[in-house]
């Protein structure tokens, strides 16, 4: 049985790449929702829940930091693990995102294998 994922990134190209590497890595994805910022993502989550969220940080309207805060304040952070995917590998940024409730932090560039490993860790073996 596959799992459901919400990809939050303002770049359509990056969303397409993530979809592609999930397929390449052999992850079984049943449902793949997409949003171009945190605000859109929250709207989607109010309509449909997912097993895992993959989110960028730098986005217009609502960035990744605010998105994580809102997930926490709306009680969604406990039930849906969030994996941050960003080019930003600075220590302060990583610590800040983890302190806001992110379950993991992947820096670009990343390989399909690395994404699979991290998603397996975040989701637990039952989903992958």
């Amino acid at each position: 049985m596959g799992f459901s994922v919400l990809i939050v990134d303002d770049s359509p190209a990056m969303r397409g790449f993530i979809r592609r590497v999930m397929t390449l890595s052999g992850l079984e994805v049943d449902t793949c929702l997409e949003a171009s910022n945190g605000e859109e993502a929250l709207e989607r989550l109010r309509q449909q829940t997912v097993d895992v969220i993959l989110t960028d940080i730098n986005m217009p309207k609502m960035n990744g930091e605010e998105f994580l805060r809102r997930l926490g304040s709306e009680g969604l952070a406990r039930s849906i693990p969030t994996l941050v995917i960003s080019t930003d590998a600075t220590k302060a940024r990583i610590l800040r995102m983890l302190s806001l409730g992110a379950e993991g932090y992947m820096t670009k560039p990343f390989s399909p294998e690395a994404l699979r490993e991290e998603m397996e860790r975040v989701l637990g073996a039952k989903h992958v």
């Binding site: 590998a89 302060a92 670009k108």
Partner: protein
Amino acid sequence: MSERLNQSCAVASDPDFSSTLSRVSAEVLETMFFDEPVAARCEHSWISSAASVRLSFEGSHRGEFLLSVSPQVARSIAPAFLGIEADEVTGTQASQVLLELANILCGSVLSRLWPDSDLRLGAPEPIQAAGSIQPATLHECFLLTDGMLSVSIQMYGAEPE
């Protein structure tokens, strides 16, 4: 010489910075764009016809990042990144992939150069042909399968700690 130029010269002449720029750029291109870049001599006759993207960054360091690719590379990176056939790639997709390439390269290079920094990246924006590369700029050129790619960082000096 101005303070800005002094700092840029210091960065551009630092072998560690140059090595990081070269290594991280190659890692990005190999891992996410499935190409095998080779560091190339900077001969910029192709720059006038290049597709270029600029990003500004600010915070503990301020400056601009510039990516330029030759026309053939601009067409070939999108199918590689998206995993679709070249004739299926729209102009919009090609532009979006180029912007994303600049975003990934800029963020990766800067945060590896300054892992203890606090940086904010601007949105990548396409610009007309970059013209000549500014002196005192951290800069590398690569030969890809289908053409040339160059990355440049122009520093505007550091803000006080």
